[in-house]
C-alpha cells in the first residue's frame, strides 16, 4: 500500500505544481490545494500505514498508529484552510479590481 501511496503523493505533487505554473489564478489556487493534499498523504505514509488502531487510548488496543503525523496534519489542515481562504479572496479581489486572472498580464513592472 505504501508503494501506491507514494505514487499517489508523486502524482498529487506533479499535478499541483503543473497547475501552479499555469497562467490562470484559479488553477494556481487549486494547485496549492492539491499540493497540500500531497503533503498530508506524504506525512501519513511516512509512519507506515495501518500499523495499529486509531490513537484513542479508550480502544484498549495492542498497537496504535503513530499519532505524531496526525497531529502535524491536523495543524496543517487548519493552517492551509486559512491560507487557501486568503488565496481565494486574493484571486477574487485581483480579478474584481484588475479585470484579469491571467498571471502573465499581472506581471510586475521591470526595474521598479
Amino acid at each position: 500500500m505504501e508503494l501506491f501511496m507514494s505514487l499517489a503523493v508523486g502524482i498529487l505533487f506533479a499535478v499541483g505544481v503543473y497547475l501552479i505554473l499555469s497562467k490562470s489564478l484559479l488553477r494556481i489556487v487549486l494547485g496549492t490545494s492539491l499540493l497540500t493534499h500531497g503533503v498530508h498523504l506524504l506525512l501519513l505514509t511516512m509512519s507506515r500505514l495501518k500499523a495499529g488502531s486509531a490513537p484513542l487510548l479508550g480502544e484498549g488496543a495492542e498497537r496504535y498508529t503513530d499519532p505524531l503525523p496526525q497531529a502535524l496534519i491536523l495543524t496543517s489542515i487548519v493552517i492551509s484552510f486559512g491560507v487557501t481562504s486568503l488565496f481565494f479572496v486574493l484571486a477574487y479581489q485581483t480579478y474584481k479590481k484588475l479585470g484579469t486572472d491571467d498571471m502573465e498580464q499581472l506581471r510586475g513592472q521591470e526595474h521598479e
Binding site: 500500500m1 495501518k50 497531529a71 491560507v83 486572472d101 513592472q109
Partner: protein, 950 residues
C-alpha cells in the same frame, strides 16, 4: 585603566544623545570635549614612561574562540598618534562649537560621529592585534563616511562620502587579506610577534602578496596616487572634519600602517620602491594640482595629498635598509624615518591651522573661491596672521617647523642618490622630484596667502566680512603657534616624541642623532631651498600667462571618469543581470523555486545516499483502498483538463474527499472529521469567490509554454515519490511518538493522543498556529475592504460590481425544503460541534473540529437565509471573538506561570457531578475552548467578509 580611556570616546558617543537632551541649552560640543581632553591628558601622563623605552601593554579578550583579543600596546609611535588625536581633537572640538550653529545643524549627530571616529582612530594606532586593528580601521572609514555625508541633503556630500567609503573600504579589505596571509606565515596576529619573526619571512611564497595587499590598504587610506581621488571630494564634510580627519589624523592611518610594518618589510626592494615611487608621484602630482585649484579647500586637499606622498616617500627611504646590520646605511634609514615622523607632526600642525583658517574665511565671506576673495588682510588681520603661520610652515620657510622637515627630506633624498640606492631607475630622480614638488608647494602656499589676503578686494563678496569671534580664532592660533615653535625649538619634540616613535620602528634609533636644527651650514639642501623660493615665486607670477600652470590638463581618461565609469558600469551590468531572472512573472519565480527543490533534494539524496528503499512489511492493499486510490489519481489528473471552472473545483473537491476516505481507512478519525468539514467549507468558499470569474480557458498555450511546466511538474512528482518511498523505508532514530502514546493519559489525562499532543504536549505550537490563522483572517478582511485609487473611473468594473452584488444578495435561497430542514439541522450540527469540542480530549474531536463544525452550521444558515439574517440573528463581532479566543489560550498558559509551573502546563482532576457521574476536568479543555473561539471567529470573519463585500 587604559581600556577605560580608550573606550571613553565610544562610551561618550553612546551617551551623548541622552546628555544633550538633559543639557538642552548647552552646545553638544562642550559635552563631547571631555573625551579628547581626557585622551590628551592621559597620554601626556604616559609620556615619561614610554619615552623611557617601556611600552605599556594591556589585553582584553574579544573573540577568544578565534584567538582575537584587544591587545593594546602603547609604544612611542602609538603614543605620538594618540597625542595627535587627543590634542587636535580638543582644538577641533572647540573650533566646531563656534563653527556649527546648534540651532541650525544636527550637532549631536555630528559629535556622536566625531567621537566614534576618535575612538576608532585611537584603536587603530594602539592595537597590537591585527584583526582588532582592521576592525578599528574600518570603523574610521565608516565614521568618516558619516561625517562627510553630514549635510546629507546635498548630493555632492553623499557622492563624496560614497567615494571615500568605497575606496578606503576596498583598501581595508585588501589589508585584511594581507593580514591573513601574514597570519598564515607566522601563526600569530600580534604585530610584535610578527616583527620578531620578520627575519625568517622573506623566503615565504606568500610574503610578497601579503606585502602588496597591505600596501594597497595604506595607499588607499593615505590617498596616494591613483587612489587619491576620494580626498578632494571628502572636502564636502564640514571644515572641522576636514581639519581633523582629512588632514591631521585619519589620512595618516595609512602612513601609520606603513611605518608600523616597516620592521617587517624593511630591506625588501618591492616594499621600499613602491613606497618611494608612489610617494614621489603623489608628492609631485598633488602639489601640481593644488597650485591650480580655485577652491581653497580643494587646494588644501591636494596639498594634503602631496604632503602625504612626501611622508610616504620618506618612510620608503627609511626602509631601504632594515637597520639591523648597522653602519652608515642604517643611520640613513633612521634619519629618513625620523624626518617622516617629524614632518607628520609638522603637517598636522600647519594643515590643521590652514583648514581652520579656511573655515573662518568661508564662515565670514560665504565663499571659498579664490577668484572672489582678496584683500582680506585688512579686514581679518588675525585670521591672516594665523594663516601666514601655517602657510609659511607649509612652504618650508625658516624658522618654521616645515622648513626643518623639508630640509631633512632633501637630505634623505640626496643621501639616497649619493649612496647608491639599490634601485634600477635613475636614482637622481628622487631628489629631483622631491625638489620639484617643493617648488610647487612653495608656489601654492604663496598663492593661498596672496590671493586670499593680499591684493585688493574683488568686490564680488555677498557680504562684508568681519574678524571671526575669539572661539574660532583660538584653536588655529594655538596650532599656528605650534607650527612656529616646532621650528624655533626643535628639541622640544625631538627627544620626547620623535625618538621614542623612531625607536619603536627602527632598531638603530638609539644611535641615530636627531639633527633637528634650523642651520647646518651652506649645504646642498640650503641651495635647493633657495632654488625652491626663487622658482616657486617665478611660477606663481607666471601662472596668469601660462595655461599649463592655470588650466586643467586635457586628459582623455581621468581617474574620476574611470571611477564613475566602473561604478556606473557595475550598476548597469547588475541591473541587466538582475533583469535576466527577475522578470516580474510569478511563473518564472515558482519555476526557480521548484527547479531548486528538485536539484537540491535530488542532489542531496544522491550525495548522501539518503534514498534507501526497503519494501519489507508493507501494508496489504484492499479493494476499497484500490478504488479510493484510483479515484484520487483520476480526479487529480483530470483537474488540468477541466474545461469549466465548476468542473475544476468539483474535481479538486473530489480529491479532498478521497483524502478524507484515506484518513478513515488509515485510522485517523480526527483528520477525517476535520478534513471533511474543511473540504465542504472550502468548496463553498470557492464557489462564492469564483462564481463570476471568467470561463476557464482551456490551456491553449504553446508547447513552449507547457513543456517546461510539464518537465518541472514531473520532476517534482518524481522526487517527492522517491522521498515518500525513502521515508517509510526506515528510521534513523526512535520516534517520540511512543512517548506520547505511553504518557498521554498518565501526564495529560487524555485518551485522544492526537488532541493531547495539540493542546498539551505541543500546546505552544497550537497557540501560535491560531495566531497565524488570525493574521490570515485579518489579511482577508483588509483585502476585501481594499479600494484601489483607480477603482472609480473604470468602465467595466461597474458592470462587474453590479453582477457581484446580485449574486450575494441572492445567496438567499428560495428552496423551501432547504430552509425548513436547515432550521432543524443547524441545531443538530451545533450541538454535535459542542460535543466534539468537549469530548475531544478522549474521543475524536477537539477545538479545531468543533469550531469548523460550528462554522459550517453558520455557513449553512447563511446559505439558507442569507448573510444578512445570520448577522441579525447573531450580532457577534467575530473579529472580537477571534481575539478573545487567542486571549483565552494565552491566559491559560499564563495561568500556569502564576501557579509556578512552565508556560502552558496543564493539569486535570476528577469531580463528581450529581447527574453526570464522575467527570474529568482538565485545564487543557479551557485552552481548547480558546482555540474553538478563535477558529469560529476567524472562519466567520472570512465568510462574512466575503459576503459583506458589495
Amino acid at each position: 585603566m587604559i581600556f577605560i580611556v580608550v573606550f571613553f570616546p565610544f562610551l561618550l558617543a553612546a551617551l551623548l544623545p541622552l546628555l544633550s537632551r538633559l543639557f538642552g541649552r548647552v552646545h553638544a560640543g562642550w559635552l563631547a570635549l571631555p573625551a579628547p581632553a581626557l585622551l590628551l591628558v592621559y597620554f601626556a601622563s604616559l609620556l615619561p614612561k614610554v619615552s623611557g623605552g617601556t611600552p605599556i601593554e594591556a589585553s582584553m579578550p574579544w573573540m577568544p574562540s578565534l584567538d582575537i583579543r584587544f591587545d593594546l600596546s602603547v609604544d612611542g609611535l602609538g603614543l605620538l598618534f594618540a597625542l595627535l588625536i587627543g590634542g587636535i581633537g580638543v582644538l577641533v572640538t572647540l573650533y566646531s562649537v563656534f563653527y556649527l550653529d546648534r540651532n541650525k545643524e544636527a550637532v549631536t549627530r555630528f559629535y556622536v560621529c566625531l567621537l566614534l571616529f576618535m575612538g576608532a582612530m585611537l584603536g587603530v594606532v594602539l592595537s597590537d592585534h591585527l584583526i582588532a586593528l582592521y576592525a578599528f580601521w574600518e570603523l574610521t572609514s565608516v565614521s568618516s563616511f558619516l561625517l562627510i555625508a553630514f549635510w546629507h541633503q546635498r548630493p555632492q556630500s553623499r557622492d563624496g562620502a560614497m567615494k571615500s567609503m568605497l575606496i578606503t573600504v576596498l583598501g581595508g579589505l585588501s589589508m585584511l587579506a594581507g593580514f591573513l596571509l601574514l597570519y598564515l606565515q607566522t601563526d600569530t596576529f600580534s604585530i610584535r610577534k610578527i616583527i620578531a619573526l620578520a627575519p625568517e619571512l622573506p623566503g615565504h611564497s606568500l610574503f610578497v602578496p601579503a606585502m602588496l595587499l597591505i600596501l594597497l590598504g595604506a595607499f588607499t587610506k593615505s590617498a596616494q596616487f591613483p587612489f587619491h581621488i576620494w580626498l578632494p571630494d571628502a572636502m564636502e564634510a564640514p571644515t572641522p572634519v576636514s581639519a581633523y580627519l582629512h588632514s591631521a589624523t585619519m589620512v595618516k592611518a595609512g602612513l601609520y600602517l606603513a611605518a608600523r610594518m616597516t620592521p617587517v618589510f624593511a630591506g625588501q626592494a618591492v616594499w621600499y620602491s613602491m613606497l618611494i615611487g608612489a610617494g614621489l608621484i603623489t608628492l609631485f602630482y598633488g602639489s601640481f594640482r593644488a597650485f591650480k585649484q580655485t577652491d581653497l579647500k580643494a587646494l588644501l586637499a591636494y596639498s594634503t595629498i602631496s604632503q602625504l606622498g612626501l611622508i610616504m616617500a620618506l618612510i620608503g627611504l627609511g626602509s631601504v635598509h632594515s637597520g639591523s646590520e648597522g653602519g652608515l646605511e642604517s643611520m640613513l634609514s633612521a634619519a629618513a624615518l625620523a624626518a617622516a615622523i617629524l614632518h607628520l607632526v609638522n603637517h598636522a600642525a600647519f594643515k590643521g591651522t590652514l583648514f581652520m583658517a579656511v573655515g573662518i574665511v568661508d564662515h565670514e565671506t560665504g565663499t571659498r573661491d579664490i577668484r572672489k576673495l582678496g584683500g582680506l588682510m585688512a579686514l581679518m588681520p588675525v585670521t591672516f596672521t594665523i594663516s601666514l603661520l601655517g602657510a609659511l610652515s607649509m612652504a618650508g620657510v625658516p624658522p618654521f617647523g616645515g622648513y626643518i622637515s623639508k630640509e631633512l627630506f632633501f637630505a634623505s633624498a640626496l643621501d639616497a642618490w649619493r649612496h647608491g640606492l639599490p634601485l634600477r631607475t635613475p636614482v637622481v630622480l628622487v631628489p629631483l622630484v622631491a625638489w620639484l614638488g617643493s617648488v610647487f608647494t612653495f608656489a601654492y602656499s604663496l598663492r593661498f596667502i596672496l590671493r586670499t589676503f593680499g591684493g585688493r578686494e574683488s568686490g564680488r563678496l555677498e557680504r562684508r566680512p568681519h574678524e571671526a569671534p575669539a572661539g574660532l580664532l583660538l584653536p588655529p592660533a594655538v596650532l599656528g603657534a605650534a607650527a612656529l615653535l616646532l621650528g624655533l625649538a626643535p628639541g622640544l619634540t625631538a627627544s620626547p616624541l620623535v625618538a621614542p616613535a623612531l625607536a619603536s620602528i627602527h632598531p638603530a634609533a638609539a644611535e641615530a642623532e636627531m639633527h633637528f636644527t634650523l642651520w647646518h651650514g651652506l649645504t646642498t639642501e640650503v641651495w635647493m631651498t633657495a632654488g625652491v623660493f626663487a622658482l616657486g615665486t617665478g611660477i606663481f607670477f607666471l601662472q596668469r600667462r601660462a595655461a599649463l600652470l592655470r588650466d586643467p590638463l586635457p586628459a582623455p581618461v581621468t581617474l574620476n571618469g574611470l571611477y564613475g565609469g566602473v561604478l556606473g558600469g557595475m550598476d548597469r551590468a547588475g541591473r541587466r543581470l538582475t533583469s535576466l531572472y527577475m522578470t516580474g512573472s510569478l511563473r518564472h519565480y515558482t519555476m526557480y523555486l521548484f527547479g531548486f527543490l528538485i536539484l537540491a533534494l535530488a542532489a542531496t539524496a544522491a550525495a548522501t545516499g539518503g534514498i534507501a528503499i526497503s519494501l519489507k512489511g508493507l501494508a496489504p492493499v484492499t479493494v476499497y483502498e484500490a478504488v479510493i486510490l484510483t479515484a484520487l489519481i483520476a480526479a487529480a489528473a483530470a483537474v488540468p483538463f477541466a474545461r469549466s471552472r465548476l468542473m475544476a473545483i468539483i474535481l479538486t473537491g473530489a480529491v479532498g474527499y478521497m483524502v478524507v476516505l484515506f484518513f478513515v481507512v488509515f485510522r485517523a478519525p480526527d483528520l477525517a472529521l476535520t478534513q471533511i468539514i474543511v473540504e465542504t467549507v472550502s468548496v463553498t468558499l470557492f464557489l462564492l469567490c469564483f462564481y463570476h470569474l471568467p470561463a476557464l480557458k482551456r490551456d491553449r498555450e504553446s508547447l513552449r509554454f507547457r513543456l517546461p511546466n510539464f518537465i518541472i511538474a514531473l520532476g517534482v512528482g518524481a522526487v517527492m515519490t522517491l522521498i515518500a518511498l525513502a521515508a517509510f523505508s526506515g528510521r534513523s532514530f526512535e520516534s517520540i511518538s511512543d512517548y506520547y502514546l505511553k504518557e498521554s493519559y498518565r501526564l495529560a489525562g487524555g485518551k485522544n493522543v492526537v488532541n493531547v499532543i495539540l493542546v498539551d504536549f505541543r500546546g505552544f505550537d497550537t497557540m501560535l498556529e491560531i495566531v497565524v490563522l488570525g493574521v490570515a483572517a485579518f489579511a482577508i478582511y483588509a483585502l476585501i475592504r481594499l479600494r484601489l485609487p483607480q477603482d472609480e473611473p473604470r468602465e467595466g468594473a461597474d458592470a462587474r460590481e453590479k453582477e457581484f452584488r446580485l449574486v450575494y444578495e441572492d445567496v438567499r435561497s428560495n428552496d423551501v425544503i432547504l430552509r425548513t430542514l436547515a432550521k432543524v439541522i443547524i441545531f443538530i450540527i451545533l450541538t454535535f460541534s459542542l460535543y466534539l469540542l468537549f469530548a475531544g480530549h478522549h474521543e475524536p474531536g477537539g477545538g479545531f473540529i468543533g469550531a469548523l463544525m460550528t462554522s459550517s452550521a453558520l455557513v449553512l444558515l447563511s446559505m439558507a437565509f442569507g448573510i444578512k439574517t445570520v448577522r441579525e440573528a447573531m450580532p457577534v463581532d467575530f473579529r472580537l471573538m477571534a481575539a478573545a479566543g487567542i486571549g483565552v489560550a494565552v491566559l491559560t498558559g499564563v495561568g500556569s506561570i502564576v501557579l509556578g509551573v512552565p508556560f502552558l502546563s496543564h493539569t486535570f482532576g476528577y469531580v463528581d457531578l450529581p447527574v453526570f457521574g464522575k467527570n474529568e476536568l482538565a485545564t487543557a479543555v479551557i485552552f481548547d475552548l480558546g482555540v474553538y473561539m478563535t477558529v469560529v471567529g476567524i472562519t466567520m470573519t472570512i465568510i462574512l467578509a466575503i459576503g459583506r463585500d458589495k
